[in-house]
Symmetry: C2
Subunit: 132 residues, 2 copies
């Protein structure tokens, strides 16, 4: 008897550990495509990467980072509070440690703030090099 046949399975993908390692080693939020590329030799398929990262998000191991007009990125769920930088040139997303003073207090009277996101944009060091 099978429950939940064609939805996300519990968690027993043989790729889970490798995918978590890739995300962790990247040191920045990575997309499904980036994960798949990093594991190219393993032959893992896109669908599987999606399944695994979704599982991991559900299981509290990964956090989904959503940006405007971009595929979702994934990062370890246990990182301390931080924000992100998106490079206008290569589109890679980087971590920005720390947070600005009094961000949540910006909200006008009557708004209940449950979370906030700060997104910096510009050019990453690598792309600055490249353009010299």
């Amino acid at each position: 008897m099978r429950i939940d046949y064609h939805n996300h399975m519990a968690q027993r993908s043989r790729y889970t550990d490798e995918i978590l390692r890739v995300v962790s080693d990247a040191g920045r939020p990575v997309s499904v495509d980036e994960i798949r590329d990093a594991l190219r030799e393993s032959g893992v398929g896109t669908a599987t990467v999606y399944r695994v990262v979704n599982n991991c998000v559900e299981g509290g191991k990964l956090k989904k980072v959503e940006l405007p007009n971009a595929a979702a990125r994934f990062e370890p769920a246990d990182l301390p509070h931080h924000h992100h930088f998106e490079c206008d040139s290569c589109r890679k997303v980087y971590d920005v440690p720390g947070c600005a003073q009094g961000v949540a207090d910006l909200a006008p009277e009557g708004f209940e703030v449950s979370q906030h996101e700060i997104l910096l944009k510009g050019t990453c060091p690598e792309c600055q090099e490249a353009s010299v």
Copy 2:
């Protein structure tokens, strides 16, 4: 002779003024659907609203506000620097005046920041009311 036949025309839509008025009156960034709804009686079509707002963005009259997993919103281009609040319940986007201290300075050494966005999330006053 026609140049640019089926792309954006110069700016002579008969709806331009009304659309700009809707955006301005809203007092918060509005989506194409919201604009269309506001002008429902006029019978304006979605395509036209897209054409007009795109023109206005190009012409420097409107600014496009892009959020994760949401249709673009549009606001007057001449507003002073500010940020946004997205209600988790009704999905409406509101303006948040002002800015936090030292936001751009958060970037690690070597990153060149050209702009930043702060997005607050939570519940707007209206939706708090509704849930009481």
